[in-house]
């Protein structure tokens, strides 16, 4: 886990090396989606992750709950099959196994941490305007829901993340990732709650 993250740091930050501000001035689709999103201060819910690896008969299933707190960060609590907690804030990424801190990445030492956290925050919150510098956003929107595909502007990042697509309405409902290696990951969100009461005390305690 810890190692993976670091590699992500390495790869993503290297991918960022040549990323300039090539963002389109105003993407109408992004604006349309922005208008549709509820964007609460606190958003919590359940996630079900399905990972299909190449060479595997069955998909790998995991689930848990997550919270996105505007201006604070993200808690990602995997409950099944291996409990673990990941907390992302502006300054660090911390992974807890039980009460133990299994890994801590300091944004001050690893600048990619900030970027990862931004991407996570934007993906979960559906705030695509934040991702404009990194991805080309394409897709379609109806009156009630939307579908967006993200293509990394930079080959290094594309290689690391693959193709990402999002489905949503007022909230993001599904995130789908296709990696170049042939592995697929789908995360479905449900039981979305917003507002002050949405967060369980044990999650709130992490901020």
């Amino acid at each position: 886990m810890k190692k993976m993250l670091l590699i992500v740091c390495c790869v993503i930050s290297s991918a960022l090396v040549t990323t300039g501000s090539q963002a389109d001035d105003k993407n109408p689709l992004v604006a349309q989606i922005q208008a549709m999103l509820a964007k609460p201060t606190t958003l919590c819910g359940r996630f079900d992750q399905t990972k299909q690896l190449s060479g595997m008969k069955k998909p790998l299933l995991s689930n848990g709950r997550f919270c996105v707190v505007n201006g604070k960060g993200v808690v990602w609590r995997t409950l099944q099959p291996f409990p673990s907690v990941l907390r992302l804030t502006r300054d660090e990424i911390v992974n807890y196994q039980g009460d133990k801190v299994a890994m801590r990445l300091d944004a001050n030492q690893e600048p990619a941490v900030r970027m990862i956290n931004n991407v996570m925050f934007s993906l979960l919150g559906g705030d695509l305007s934040q991702l404009d510098t990194l991805f080309v956003v394409d897709g379609k929107a109806t009156a009630t829901n939307w579908h967006a595909t993200l293509t990394a502007r930079q080959p290094g990042l594309a290689k690391a993340i693959g193709a990402v697509s999002l489905d949503g309405a007022a909230y993001v409902n599904t995130i789908h990732m296709d990696e170049a290696s042939g592995d697929h990951t789908t995360i479905v969100f449900s039981a979305m709650q917003s507002g002050d009461k949405a967060m369980l005390p044990e999650d709130a305690a992490l901020f």
Binding site: M1, V8, M56, P81, T185
Partner: protein
């Protein structure tokens, strides 16, 4: 016929001087020569151990042409803005300074090589885990990684590295430097405890030799402009600059400044003294003429001999003025006091023995410098000796022609001073008591003498430069290029294995925070033995049990584990040093690998975060290991300085003996009187150094050598004329003028900020003053006879 001989000599000398002038004009105007400022050129060349020497050049050459700049601000975007403004200025001067850019391509390329060999690369912790942990641990940790949200994006497919071993290895490699790519720049941050400033790192390569004055001036100017540009954009930006070139430039700047101040001060002092004494402009011009010819001649011949000249040699030349004037002064003082009827040529003939002896004694003094192993000092010795000879010849060939009895009038000062010569008078109990007390003081002082040969005492870079250097080393956690381990073996493999042996000893030191880490080629390319061991571990502990269990648990297809195993084994080929060296990944580490040398293979292990206080522990880490040697250039140079201080002390003692033999032919029983002033002055000087707790260095001893040369002059002047009151007063005037001038020139060296010259100057200052004061006491027919009487 006889009368014409001096005229012929004068004309011949005039011809030679014309040649010198022409050659100098050619050098300065035609060839536009500029003096070296490379401090290293002043250090001894060691021929003992070529591999050791090679390792040092390897480390230093890499560092030497580079300059590092950190542009910092409290906020990354501010730091970036300031750095961009800085880089803009640098871009205008790409012919002088090249910015080392890091592209994504290089990053990808360097990962590719290791990915192809991932099955043979394991960290020490992983090796330990593989030996100790059971299958369940590995299956579980693989699954944990698999289910966690971030397992998706990685280097390749998950199956390429299901147990995260390669990722862990890469992570350990990434820890070798705190520098990270960020937004197209290199990023490094200070610890939060220190304010957490964010910095952009600019790595610059200087395109021209850094020890050339032109390069130094160009680079310092560009840095200043770039700094101004950065500060204009972000006023609070912090700029930390480091590089050998800055130290070289600072040293050069200082030496240049001091050539002017000390040289000018010396000349002004001389002119003033001369004018007060002779009340005429002509003697001044004559003395200056002899000195100028001395300097030009020395420069011409030195250039012909060595083809280059060091700036410090020239600084030494400035002090040479103090001694070369003795000959002219000696002649002029005697002309002043001599009978007007006496023809100048005849006067010179009478003075010839003294003049010849003083020249020879001074050259013997300077020759001592030539016996040191320091190339810089050798050329100084040659420069100084040549300068003396040229000045001397000018006096001998020209002065009798140019100065007649009518030329000099002699001021009131000259008359007054000539009469001030003192003597110890009749020795009595009280005086002997005083002598005893003084002697006791001298002995006590000498007993307190300490020595310190640390080369760092001689370092005198501006404090700001040193502070920047320290901060940069801390931020970048960079190893020092002057203290490291040198490893040798008969083959590449043996060297790598020996590196691994040493690393086992270093790991506990890292754990105890004695060092923060080490850089070694075997970090990237382990020895074949280790690589095979790693592969065997992987096969035995992972590819057998855990892989199958993992396959079952996650429901992989039947062929999955066999395919994964095969894929792993495909990446299990031995990674060679050659492959590594050919890849861009080796770029930052190339200086660590010496490869094949004249004497087997060699490499370097550099230590990060080594505090001098931990040196004692760290340098013995490799004790008892084959082919491991601790290299401490700082300690080594200090050792050499110490050795030669010791050696030079003997040379000085021997020089006294040689000069004694030389003078014995003329002075017989009174020879000791000539040498005693210099000898006693030297002892008193040492005693004062002892009382004031100045540790003695090589440069103090070198000054004592020079003191011998100059002090003997005065002894000779005094003894030669001890029998005639008029001649005695002329000699005393000559000694006074010369000593005052020597004090002015060498005394001014004591003001130098170059510690070596300062030590030299302080010794000369005390020593010459002492000789001046005590030389009359040893006059024949004075002290001792009075004592007897």
């Amino acid at each position: 016929m006889k009368k014409n001989k001096p005229t012929i000599f004068a004309a011949l000398w005039a011809a030679i001087v014309c040649l010198l002038l022409a050659h100098n004009a050619y050098l300065w105007i035609g060839k536009r020569i500029s003096p070296d400022t490379d401090i290293m050129a002043l250090l001894p060349v060691q021929q003992r151990d070529p591999v050791l020497q090679l390792s040092f050049t390897h480390m230093v050459d890499t560092a030497q042409q580079r300059a590092l700049v950190l542009v910092g601000a409290t906020d990354w975007s501010e730091a970036k803005r300031a750095a961009d403004a800085y880089s803009e200025v640098l871009k205008l001067h790409a012919d002088v300074l090249q910015t080392t850019a890091m592209t994504e391509q290089t990053q990808q390329d360097w990962l590719a090589l290791f990915a192809a060999h991932r099955a043979v690369l394991l960290t020490t912790a992983q090796q330990k885990n593989l030996q100790e942990r059971d299958a369940t641990y590995w299956v579980e940790s693989a699954q944990r990684a698999l289910y966690s949200p971030f397992s998706g994006p990685k280097l390749g497919a998950w199956r390429d590295d299901p147990f995260g071993l390669f990722a862990g290895w890469l992570q350990e490699r990434a820890q070798e430097t705190p520098v990270r790519p960020r937004d197209g720049a290199l990023f490094v941050a200070d610890a939060a405890a220190n304010g957490g400033r964010q910095y952009v790192l600019l790595s610059l390569t200087i395109q021209h030799p850094v020890f050339e004055m032109g390069t130094q001036q160009a680079v310092t100017k560009i840095f200043d402009q770039a700094r101004a540009a950065a500060l204009a954009v972000v006023p609070g930006a912090e700029l930390i600059t480091s590089g050998v070139i800055l130290h070289a430039a600072a040293a050069g700047e200082q030496a240049r400044g001091e050539t002017w101040t000390i040289g000018l001060g010396s000349i002004l002092g001389i002119i003033l003294l001369m004018w007060v004494t002779f009340r005429s402009i002509k003697p001044i011009l004559l003395i200056v003429l002899s000195i100028v010819i001395g300097c030009l001649g020395a420069l011409s011949i030195c250039w012909m001999l060595f083809d280059h000249i060091h700036l410090l040699t020239l600084v030494f030349g400035a002090s040479l003025i103090g001694v070369a004037q003795d000959y002219g002064i000696f002649f002029l003082c005697h002309r002043l006091k001599a009978d007007a009827q006496l023809d100048s040529t005849a006067l010179l003939r009478r003075l010839m023995p003294s003049l010849a002896l003083t020249l020879i004694a001074a050259i013997i003094g300077y020759a001592g410098l030539a016996f040191t192993p320091f190339p810089g000092l050798r050329s100084m010795a040659v420069f100084s000796a040549l300068g003396l000879i040229f000045a001397w010849l000018t006096v001998v060939c020209w002065f009798p022609q140019l100065v007649s009895a009518q030329t000099l009038k002699g001021g009131r000062f000259a008359r007054w001073y000539g009469a001030t010569i003192w003597s110890s008078g009749k020795m009595n109990l009280g005086k002997w008591g005083l002598v005893l007390v003084l002697a006791a003081g001298v002995v006590a002082g000498i007993l307190q003498l300490t020595t310190n040969d640390d080369i760092r005492l001689l370092q005198n870079s501006p404090p700001q430069l040193i502070a920047d250097q320290i901060k940069l080393s801390r931020l970048l956690d960079a190893p020092t290029p002057v203290q490291f381990y040198l490893l040798r073996g008969n083959s590449e493999q043996q060297v790598l294995e020996r590196e691994e042996n040493l690393k086992q000893r270093l790991d506990p030191l890292v754990a105890q925070h004695k060092i923060s880490g080490y850089q070694a080629i075997s970090n990237w390319v382990p020895s074949e033995k280790t690589q095979r061991g790693n592969l065997a571990l992987l096969q035995g502990k992972i590819l057998s049990g855990p892989l199958n269990q993992l396959a079952t648990q996650i429901g992989a297809e039947d062929t999955w584990s066999a395919d994964t195993r095969k894929q792993m084994m495909d990446s299990g080929h031995i990674l060679t040093v050659t492959q590594f060296m050919d890849s861009p990944a080796s770029e930052p580490w190339k200086h660590l690998w010496l490869g094949q040398t004249a004497d087997g293979y060699a490499s370097i292990i550099a230590l990060r975060g080594l505090a001098q206080s931990n040196l004692a522990v760290v340098q013995h880490a490799g004790d008892g290991l084959d082919g491991v040697q601790w290299v401490d250039k700082v300690g080594e140079i200090s050792g050499v300085l110490g050795q030669y201080r010791h050696y030079m002390a003997w040379v000085v003692t021997c020089a006294y003996a040689i000069v004694f033999c030389l003078l014995f032919g003329r002075y017989r029983g009174a020879t000791w009187r000539v040498l005693a002033p210099a000898a006693f002055a030297s002892l008193i000087t040492l005693a004062i150094l002892g009382w004031t707790h100045h540790p003695v260095q090589l440069f103090h001893v070198l000054a004592l050598m020079l003191l011998l040369g100059v002090g003997v002059d005065y002894g000779i002047f005094m003894q030669e004329k001890a029998d005639d009151a008029n001649k005695l007063s002329a000699a005393w005037l000559a000694i006074g003028l010369s000593a005052a001038n020597t004090l002015l020139s060498f005394g001014l060296l004591a003001l130098s900020h170059t510690p070596a010259l300062q030590a030299f100057g302080v010794t000369m200052l005390i020593g010459i003053a002492m000789v001046w004061v005590i030389v009359p006491l040893f006059r024949k027919g004075d002290a001792v006879q009075s004592g007897k009487g």
